[in-house]
């Protein structure tokens, strides 16, 4: 009796598993790959299409940013297709979820290049994840257009040569960002003493903190307190109390949005009222997450785009109509990356990955995009040249922009 029951259970479980796998076709075919964002205008396995891959964190810890980038890219792809495609061919965007895991990222890259025959990848916004793609992209020579803050992702620190497959597109790296903010705080706000409070378990946070410390001291500022925490810590009052005791004039917070929210809230709880300086992550939805936005009395941060700009109204409408959520700055990054890719393909009149790499290195100069004017991609650093950013201010809970800013103290 038990034997038959056991076998029945095994049978049912196996059947369930196989049924699930049968739903999407067998390994080796590409049909089961994409999310429901796949563009409907292409024919599956059709003849004249250009496949663009996307590797982002769609369901893990970084999924807020990952989804934003991926959705922005999808929007761009749909727009381009509606306007006739590139070189007469339609684009297909295949998005894979890497769940914020390095191994998954490499798997996804292998699958996109080997099986799906993608010509370029709109890559992850996380430096650490991008690192895992350095080796494979150098081998396969399918370019990855990503958003790492760490310059070591695009350039080999030991040899000074750029990695063939890695490109930082549509965002300045951490060093440029740090120089911008430190220049602003010194020149525009006349502050000289900074405290830095960053996440040692997050590469973006760590790199931004290091870059800021260097830039700030380079132009003559003083760092009076450096406090750290680790991701998944929830209580910051101890470190914040230490900052309160030091004579810092502002706090640099290069952390992801939820931690910025927690830090600002807890600082208010202990009565700490210094201005905050963020890297990029105090952009929306930061204010909406604070339980009381006016506790954020004074804050400055940088962004690649000012979302309330009228030029972006159409973009935001489309994004909201398509995805049901508000577009954020990272969505514009994903969007711009696809347009840069389009420019690269058109520059060399070819969608071959190696040609795209060539174009990305040499032929992206003075390009006018939706949010960036005069965008140039530097062939030696694989990063943008002199990209401007917008400084945003939060005053008593109200967000405004102060226009684009170019640092003057650095050469």
């Amino acid at each position: 009796m038990i034997k038959t029951k056991g076998r029945a259970i095994i049978g049912m479980t196996l059947a369930a598993v196989l049924a699930l796998s049968g739903c999407s076709g067998t390994t080796g075919q590409t049909t089961g790959g994409s999310t429901e964002n796949e563009s409907k205008t292409q024919a599956a396995g059709g003849v004249d299409v250009i496949i663009v891959g996307g590797i982002n964190d769609l369901s893990g810890d970084g999924s807020v940013l990952g989804n934003a980038v991926s959705n922005g890219a999808q929007l761009a792809v749909d727009e381009i297709n509606a306007a006739g495609g590139i070189l007469g061919k339609q684009l297909v965007y295949k998005a894979y979820d890497n769940r914020n895991d390095g191994t998954e990222t490499i798997n996804a890259y292998n699958r996109l290049t080997d099986i799906d025959k993608a010509v370029a990848i709109i890559g992850p916004p996380s430096s650490t994840i991008c690192m895992s793609l350095i080796e494979v992209s150098s081998e396969r020579k399918v370019p990855v257009l990503c958003l790492p803050s760490d310059p070591n992702v695009t350039v080999n620190a030991k040899t000074g040569e750029p990695y063939p497959g890695m490109f930082l597109v549509a965002q300045p790296n951490a060093i440029a960002q740090a120089q911008l903010m430190s220049d602003f705080m010194l020149m525009n706000k006349n502050k000289t003493k900074a405290a830095i409070f960053y996440d040692t378990a997050n590469s973006y946070s760590t790199i931004s903190a290091q870059a800021f410390e260097e830039a700030w001291t380079q132009i003559g500022g003083e760092v009076v307190s450096v406090q750290t925490f680790q991701t998944n810590d929830n209580d910051f009052k101890t470190q914040l109390s230490k900052i309160k005791q030091s004579d810092a004039e502002f706090i640099f917070l290069p952390n992801t949005t939820p931690y910025c929210v927690l830090i600002v809230q807890q600082a208010a709880q202990i009565g700490l009222e210094l201005p905050y300086v963020g890297a990029m992550d105090m952009a929306n939805p930061f204010l909406s997450l604070l339980d009381n936005p006016s506790i954020c009395k004074e804050a400055y941060f940088e962004a690649v785009a000012w979302m309330q700009d009228e030029n972006l109204d159409h973009f935001r409408e489309q994004y909201k109509a398509k995805f049901g959520e508000e577009a954020t700055v990272k969505s514009t990054s994903g969007y711009e990356q696809v347009y840069v890719l389009k420019a690269a393909i058109e520059a060399n009149q070819s969608a071959e990955p190696e040609q795209i790499i060539n174009a990305l290195e040499n032929k992206i100069k003075d390009l006018d995009l939706l949010t960036i004017k005069g965008y140039t991609q530097n062939g030696e650093t694989h990063a943008p040249d002199n990209m401007e950013m917008v400084i945003c201010e939060i005053h008593d809970g109200v967000l405004t922009e102060l226009g684009s800013y170019k640092p003057t103290l650095f050469d």
Binding site: K237, T238, Q239, Q269, I270, N292
Partner: protein
């Protein structure tokens, strides 16, 4: 840095752990296993609380009550799905571990899939987030004070239930010897069900407070391990141990972060836990819970 403010911070942090550890300790005392799915119940209840607070604009008390009921039901469901069969068939204790950690992971992941595309935070329940004492020298967060008050009240209520009601007698009988309890006419299934319900209520309340204190994200469920540590320090098998364990853990964390920094504090707490387990496995208040021969 004023040592008193540090202590206040430690107690505030600890009050979160006390709540978590309460729900955990209850199940451990009665059923003798570590319920790792408690974290999952906490997180799901936290999101539930968020939804009803935002959608219907409830204040703190109604949110707490509704979420508590939700948490209790969820936890009982978890018991039925995960543990009931095992209990009936006298399953191997390993299976309880696997079932509970799998359930916990599953609940967390369901939240991650449904809600992870953006961040959420609870609406403000308090006009001013902190009390000031002595003209601003010390600040005490309001939510933490309420948490401490709620935990203490709950402990008192729980102890009343366990020591003064019939249900409590059944629970104590069950924790001593489940076979004999059954023989004595106690409906073990119902008692276990009630225990899980109560544990779920506790978990839900901790979930809501966690959501208030912190930004809502699925990994909040990992806090259950802090609750576990607190239970062990305080003494598994003793309800009031949750209070001491939680506060002590909160204090140690704050002090360690202050003196040693955030990275090393995790490692040091790990070492301290081991030392504690080796030299005083019954915790501060507990009795030795030995395995049967």
């Amino acid at each position: 840095m004023n040592i008193i403010q540090l202590i206040i911070n430690g107690i505030s942090l600890g009050s979160v752990y006390v709540l978590i550890s309460l729900g955990f300790t209850l199940i451990f005392s009665v059923l003798k296993f570590s319920n790792f799915s408690h974290g999952g119940v906490m997180v799901v209840s936290a999101y539930f609380g968020y939804i009803i607070a935002r959608q219907f604009g409830f204040g703190l008390i109604p949110t707490l009550i509704l979420t508590a009921i939700f948490g209790g039901i969820l936890s009982s469901l978890v018991e039925v799905i995960g543990f009931e069969r095992l209990r009936r068939n006298n399953g191997d204790i390993m299976l309880y571990f696997v079932a509970s950690s799998t359930l916990g992971t599953m609940l967390q992941n369901i939240m991650a899939v449904t809600f992870s595309s953006t961040y959420y935070s609870y609406p403000t329940f308090f006009k001013k987030p902190y009390f000031e004492l002595f003209g601003g020298t010390f600040t005490i967060p309001v939510s933490d004070t309420i948490m401490l008050g709620v935990s203490t009240t709950l402990i008192i209520i729980l102890m009343y239930i366990i020591y003064k009601t019939r249900l409590g007698v059944s629970i104590r009988a069950l924790s001593m010897d489940s076979q004999t309890a059954k023989l004595m006419g106690i409906n073990v299934s119902v008692v276990v069900f009630m225990c899980f319900f109560i544990s779920g209520v506790l978990g839900a309340i901790s979930g809501v407070f966690l959501g208030i204190n912190y930004v809502l994200y699925p990994q909040l469920g990992q806090m259950v391990f802090k609750g576990f540590t607190a239970s062990i320090i305080g003494g598994l098998g003793n309800i009031s141990g949750a209070l001491f364990g939680g506060l002590l853990l909160g204090l140690s964390e704050v002090l360690l972060i202050y003196f040693v920094g955030s990275g090393y504090s995790t490692a040091i707490i790990f070492i301290l836990t081991i030392v504690f387990l080796i030299f005083r496995p019954q915790g501060i208040t507990g009795k030795i819970v030995s395995e049967k021969v």
